[in-house]
């Protein structure tokens, strides 16, 4: 066995070349102290020596000191003969610091100096990808893959650009190739999770993200992607849990903070959402994603001017959230009834991103399509060539065309696209209509007259809450808008608080028979804690979450003085309207005609039960068709039901600038219209499964 003598103390007559070569060799072997010593010796006799500075920078980077690394690399690149690879490394460090333009310059310099430097093309390619210069990124990274056909990293990077270009099949193929070259490649698993989530393959996506975290427990993107999958499953608490787990080890991660804010918006925890989004901006002031998120929170908080400012800022920054920010500012105008500004904002978004599915989709609500509308051709082409970037985009475009063809009276084309959009949406979640109808039957059974009798006098006594319930698209938004035009009523929109309480009280409904006085009072107070801060001194706050029809019995016991308004509308009209809408919130029963019909029948049975057991001074029913025929009479009846004096403003509800954030956003701005009554008859041949389930006889 040979034994090497231990290293002599570095002697003074070592040449610069030799000292540098030892420094690099020590670093290669992970001997950082020795490497640094040799670098410092070189810098002592030659301050600014580029190779020594470069190595110091590389080492600082390896130990997580990005700022110091950048400092060294910038100096190293100032040397007249700095080689291409130093610029290439500088480019990557700039990217990690979010300095995209400086990084891009360094990357271009690297490949200009050495056209064969694979790392240079690679680093430039991923900077261009982040900057949204996707076509150029694609050519850089295709070159890298050609030069390094067995590099998992090269395939992964190319896949990322393909994905952002909407070339999902190609992207998936490259990820698969990367993973076949290295099955333990955490980044590729995580990126694949992101792609699968966009494609609506949620179980596979979650498994890939989990695998990435197992392989590299501190890989931030994997947590963000896993949270995105949970959001796609409407499991926002789970999403939040993963983002919190990310922030445990990376408390300043801007992407994590922004994603956390998004989850908190969905959970209606807006003050926390704002704090999280603002921290994202603090940590990444140049991130369009962070500013866009701040805008979304402010929008949810009804702070529109500030929201608009944040969206404008986001739209002015390079990055991948620019398109989203442009669409969001248009939606903001739309929600506030500023239709002209909304149209202009959509036009601006589509000028920059002509194939923006979200812009095309959201704009469609603002207009009645004519036969020659150019959007129709554009979208048909987009759907034909597979150029959509995600399943969500494909769904949105099918629904857009569904609306467009309904507008022009082409029932066949309309239902082709509606069926397709609904089918795609329905494929992304599990839903058991049988179990759901059975559950509704159990609710009616548990909330029996006997239960109400034995629980007399329980609950929190406040008369603040007013619930508007029913099936979506049955006029709930209209009724809320009429009520909220009264000076003593605040429209709270669709609140998920009651559902959240129900989710937390054990086995529902069976467990409620065990509740005593204190539990009923606590449930009532839990709910009030959410709505009282909204009241601004008014006597009533409206919660128009339609699905609360399931919980009318619970409301009666927890909040005995709350009022419940049940909106009714012709079943086929309601269901058809649901079927033409792609909802933002979780809505599981509206994407299949037969399921819609069965759900509606079960709902009718449950409502018949509530009608029997709830007192008339707390439960009222209103028919959409009656409101259309006699707006004033019905409005007066409802205001009277709330115990309020009549105000004329309730008839001018469409002038109310209050923001609306449901699928009915543009309809309530118009004075009452009759075009939606009985409209289904023109489409009867496409509605057979629905009509059968509802028991409607066509003859």
């Amino acid at each position: 066995m040979a034994r090497k003598p231990s290293a002599p103390a570095p002697s003074q007559d070592l040449s610069i070349e030799e000292a540098l070569s030892r420094a690099y060799a020590h670093w290669n072997a992970g001997q950082a102290d020795q490497a640094e010593l040799f670098c410092q010796r070189v810098l002592a006799v030659w301050p600014g020596q580029a190779d020594a500075l470069h190595l110091m920078g590389v080492m600082a980077h390896a130990y997580g000191n990005l700022d110091l690394a950048l400092q060294h690399l910038r100096l190293a690149c100032q040397a007249p003969r700095a080689p291409a690879v130093y610029f290439s490394n500088l480019a990557e460090m700039c990217r990690q610091k979010g300095l995209l333009s400086e990084g891009e310059r360094a990357g271009r310099r690297a490949v200009a100096l050495d056209n064969n430097l694979v790392a240079g093309w690679n680093n430039l390619g991923i900077i261009l990808q982040e900057a949204g210069k996707l076509d150029e990124s694609l050519s850089c990274l295709e070159r890298v893959v050609a030069l390094q056909q067995n590099s998992p990293e090269a395939h992964n990077n190319l896949a990322n650009t393909c994905k952002r270009l909407g070339r999902l099949d190609r992207a998936e193929g490259y990820y698969a190739k990367a993973l076949s070259l290295n099955p333990n490649y955490a980044e590729a698993h995580s990126n694949l999770a992101n792609l699968l989530n966009d494609r609506g393959r949620l179980d596979e996506a979650a498994a890939e993200a989990r695998r990435a975290i197992d392989l590299n427990p501190q890989m931030a993107d994997a947590y963000i992607n896993l949270a995105a999958v949970e959001s796609s499953r409407y499991r926002f608490t789970e999403a939040l849990r993963w983002l919190d787990a990310l922030l445990v080890f990376a408390p300043m991660h801007a992407g994590g903070l922004a994603a956390r804010a998004q989850s908190l918006i969905r959970l209606e925890r807006l003050p926390e959402a704002l704090e999280s989004a603002k921290r994202a901006v603090e940590n990444a002031p140049e991130s369009s994603d962070a500013h866009n998120t701040v805008g979304q929170v402010l929008q949810a908080l009804s702070r529109f001017d500030e929201a608009l400012e944040a969206f404008d800022r986001a739209a002015s920054l390079p990055g991948l959230a620019t398109e989203n920010a442009l669409v969001n500012r248009a939606i903001l105008f739309m929600e506030n009834g500023r239709k002209d500004e909304a149209r202009a904002a959509f036009d601006r978004a589509l000028d920059s991103f002509p194939r923006s599915a979200q812009a095309l989709f959201n704009r469609s609500d603002l207009k009645t399509f004519a036969e020659n509308d150019p959007d129709i051709r554009t979208i048909e082409d987009m759907l034909l060539d597979g150029g959509t970037r995600s399943l969500a985009d494909s769904q949105a475009l099918h629904f857009t065309l569904g609306k467009a063809y309904l507008d022009v009276g082409n029932s066949d084309r309309a239902f082709y696209h509606l069926n397709e959009g609904n089918r795609l949406k329905r494929s992304t979640f599990h839903f058991d209509i049988g179990a759901t109808t059975e559950w509704m039957r159990r609710i009616a059974k548990v909330f029996s007259p006997a239960l109400f009798k034995s629980c007399r006098g329980v609950g929190a006594p406040s008369s603040l809450p007013v619930f508007i319930v029913g099936i979506p698209r049955s006029g709930t938004t209209l009724i809320e808008q009429i009520l909220a035009s009264h000076s003593q009523v605040l429209g709270g929109g669709e609140l998920s608080q009651l559902q959240r309480i129900v989710d937390g009280i054990g086995v529902y409904p069976e467990d409620v028979v065990k509740f005593d006085k204190t539990v009923w009072e606590r449930i009532g107070r839990d709910y009030l804690a959410r709505v009282e801060p909204l009241a601004q001194g008014r006597l009533h706050v409206v919660d128009k979450m339609p699905a609360n029809f399931l919980h009318a019995g619970l409301i009666r016991l927890a909040l005995p003085n709350a009022r419940i308004i049940h909106c009714r509308r012709d079943p086929v009209d309601t269901c058809l309207s649901c079927y033409t809408k792609l909802f933002t919130a979780e809505q599981l029963f509206t994407y299949d005609l037969a399921e819609l019909g069965r759900f509606h029948v079960a709902y009718q049975k449950l409502m018949a039960h509530w009608r029997k057991v709830l007192p008339k001074d707390r439960f009222i029913e209103v028919d959409y068709e009656a409101v259309v025929d006699d707006l004033e009479g019905e409005a007066k009846r409802l205001i009277d039901f709330l115990g309020l004096p009549w105000e004329e403003s309730c008839l001018n509800f469409h002038e109310n600038r209050r923001t609306i954030r449901t699928a009915s956003v543009n309809q309530v701005r118009r004075p009452i219209y009759k075009s939606s009554m009985g409209r289904w008859k023109a489409h009867a041949r496409h509605l057979e499964p629905l009509l059968t389930a509802l028991g409607v006889d066509l003859t």
Binding site: K4, A7, R22, Y63, G64, Q218, A245, L246, F249
Partner: protein, 387 residues
């Protein structure tokens, strides 16, 4: 639900733990977690408390839950590793032990080798760098795996090792080339930390101990010490009462020489092979103990190895000489705290790592007197057998 101000509770509990009042600390923590959910820091405290009281199954369950909840908290993974290894659960234990350089106080000392880690597969003739880390005891314990790595990899094995252990390593099988820690190694394809060998090679309890001895003393040093110790009456019992004071668990594992007074008995010659700041205690041995202070005459581990090879027994707290004697195949009695370092496992008086070693464990937290009383009985029996 009660709102818990975790930071206040935290301070209170740490104060109790510092005073060893674990049961009281636990009485505060447990009700706060009774619902099955609570702040993560409280769960960490519960794991710590149950571990210190020896309830390992519960410790493990809590730590596994924490790793599942916050996979990126690498110190939590390391805590789990130490529990799993202590329970003899090697497979996941070695995997999580991989995070030993991801703790707040260790990230800066992680060695960032710019080549991949060996994946455990054969690589005939290609250079593999294995480098030691951490304490001397670790090196003595795990150097046995260098020969196994050589056999598995068929590589040209370069072993980089601390200067103090170099000459002992030269007489150990496995390495083709040996260099001192910090010197420039020849070019190599892949590397492996010495204590990552168990993870890479999938070490199982059944693989232990391998060939014993795997270290050997220097013949010239043995000759020298034979002369030095020749006239002393046997049995000769080497003594070590304190480990390196900087060790995080030193307060639990180390003693003073005075604490070893119960071992003093006629007919036994004690040799103080203690090194470091506590060695001076050998000048004032407890009453009735015949003790030869050797600190000044021991220059290096070669001297210690030679003495251990001649003496009849080493009695020691959990410190590097235990591993040196074990690797030399010499008899050792180890004094272990109630919850020892993971390498000693639980609930057994022997160790799979060293067949000649017996473990004397505290039967209750901090109970050295009871442990020493048992050991004194055994020592008297040994003396009577040898004489």
């Amino acid at each position: 639900m009660t709102i818990v101000d975790a930071s206040v509770v935290d301070q209170q509990i740490h104060a109790l733990i510092a005073q060893g009042r674990l049961e009281e600390a636990e009485a505060i923590v447990r009700p706060l977690l009774a619902s099955g959910s609570g702040p993560i820091p409280l769960w960490r405290l519960l794991a710590q408390l149950s571990r210190q009281q020896g309830r390992l199954a519960e410790t493990r369950a809590v730590q596994e839950m924490l790793v599942e909840a916050v996979p990126g908290d690498l110190s939590g993974r390391f805590d789990l590793a130490e529990t799993l290894l202590l329970m003899g659960e090697f497979e996941r234990g070695w995997r999580e032990y991989h995070y030993r350089y991801s703790l707040s106080h260790t990230t800066r000392i992680e060695r960032k080798v710019q080549r991949p880690r060996w994946d455990g597969r054969p690589m005939p003739g290609r250079p593999l760098l294995i480098h030691d880390e951490q304490g001397y005891g670790d090196t003595f314990q795990f150097i046995r795996m260098v020969a196994w790595a050589k056999e598995r990899s068929q590589a040209h094995v370069i072993l980089e090792i601390n200067r103090e252990s170099l000459s002992l390593a030269e007489r150990c099988k496995g390495a083709d080339e040996l260099i001192v820690r910090g010197t420039l190694p020849p070019a190599f394809d892949v590397h492996c930390e010495m204590m990552s060998l168990p993870m890479v090679m999938g070490l199982k309890l059944d693989d232990l101990p391998g060939t014993i001895p795997y270290l050997s003393p220097s013949p010239t040093r043995v000759a020298k010490w034979r002369r030095r110790l020749a006239k002393l009456p046997r049995p000769l019992v080497c003594l070590v009462w304190a480990g390196r004071p900087a060790h995080h668990n030193d307060a639990n594992r180390s003693m003073t020489l005075a604490d070893l007074a119960p071992l003093a008995m006629p007919g036994v010659t004690f040799l103080a092979v203690q090194k470091g700041p506590k060695a001076a205690e050998a000048k004032t041995p407890p009453a009735g103990m015949t003790l030869l202070a050797l600190d000044d005459e021991i220059d290096d581990f070669e001297d210690t190895a030679a003495i251990l090879s001649i003496a009849d027994l080493l009695i020691s707290v959990d410190s590097s000489p235990v591993h040196l004697a074990g690797a030399l195949g010499r008899p050792v009695w180890v004094l272990l705290p109630f919850i020892p370092d993971w390498r000693w496992l639980m609930d057994r008086a022997d160790t799979p790592w060293y067949p000649q070693t017996r473990l004397f464990r505290q039967s209750a937290r901090g109970d050295w007197p009871g442990t020493l009383a048992r050991m004194a009985n055994e020592l008297a029996a040994l003396r009577d057998k040898i004489r």
